[in-house]
Point group: C2
Chain length 165, copies 2
DNA sequence: AGAAACCAGTTGCATCATAGAACCAGTCTT
DNA sequence: AAGACTGGTTCTATGATGCAACTGGTTTCT
């Protein structure tokens, strides 16, 4: 996978990498959903991504260095995808973009509670979460303290349970 | 222009709005280049956007409420595009996305100096710049102090002159 | 007054990307 | 051995993108 390199502008290059309907959504699901396998990403996709598109995007993101692909030791045919450091550093982009969407687009409460917590937590929370992602995806040593991932997931489940009794 | 609304997730909705090759690049040119007319945007496009694509995007962004379109009093056939408040609030997204691109993609010094200044200035500088955009595009009363737009443009011109003697 | 340049797009056409549905071969579980 | 699960692939229809040429009207220059 090679970029067009139409210009060396950071915004332009970022959009050459991420400027499509699905790439950032897949990375979101890996970060906040914790999904690492093809079937998980396919079946837990709230937006209903098609399997051929998912396959193409995973391949492209891997070629671009945002994901790595490895065999899963538990099942000879299972593949596990991991975020790379550049992908983990997209977390602030997710946070700021989520904050914007929450303010200006018709979001649902259930699906925006995590964006809200992320916005309220600010950069210190983002740093904690990025460290957790490094532990999960890059094998970095774990730090102590309450898991941001679990906090976000719990808040989401709580709102979901409240709204769909 | 209507969104798919595949899900009410802020990231998903943001990508339904901005997840294409050109929308954010056009908004970037309006914010940082100061271009407001069709020909300006077309001819100053560093990435060489095609005129039909530009026309389609301007129409879509207007329908989505990110731009407004008005006759230019100085020329009966001239049209002036303005950023709306939601579009102006994309500035932090630009700043964070630019910072990411600058760190992980093959940017050129010339085209990333503004992203660097924006990153170093942080939220206080972003707020100043958003206020300037409100003055320019929404007719808000001007505040005093040095113009961020001019500072960014001057830094860019300075680097450009230095690199292409 | 006439020519040239400028204005915001539009049109036609070829190619590329996306979307949905069905399908596949190997693997693991029961 | 049957059935479910694995990461995809294939087919086909439709839509988006990209390029080049072009349009009708407006303003400026000489």
């Amino acid at each position: 996978m090679t970029l067009d390199l139409r210009s060396g502008c950071p915004i332009n290059l970022s959009m050459e990498v991420l400027g499509d309907r699905w790439s950032l959504v897949i990375l979101r699901d890996m970060m906040f959903g914790g999904w690492r396998h093809f079937r998980e990403l396919l079946e837990n996709s709230r937006e209903g991504i098609a399997s051929n598109i998912l396959a193409a995007r995973l391949k492209r993101l891997t070629e671009l260095g945002l994901l790595t692909r490895a065999d899963d030791p538990s099942h000879r045919q299972k593949v596990i995808y991991s975020l790379t450091e550049p992908a983990i550093q997209l977390l602030p982009v997710m946070a700021v973009l989520g904050a914007w969407g929450r303010r200006h687009l018709p979001v649902t409460e259930e699906l925006s509670i995590r964006a809200q917590l992320l916005e309220e937590g600010g950069p210190p929370l983002w740093d904690d979460f990025m460290d957790e992602l490094r532990t999960l995806h890059l094998g970095a040593p774990a730090r102590d303290g309450p898991s941001v991932f679990e906090r976000l997931t719990a808040a989401y489940e709580e709102v979901k349970a409240r709204n769909v009794p």
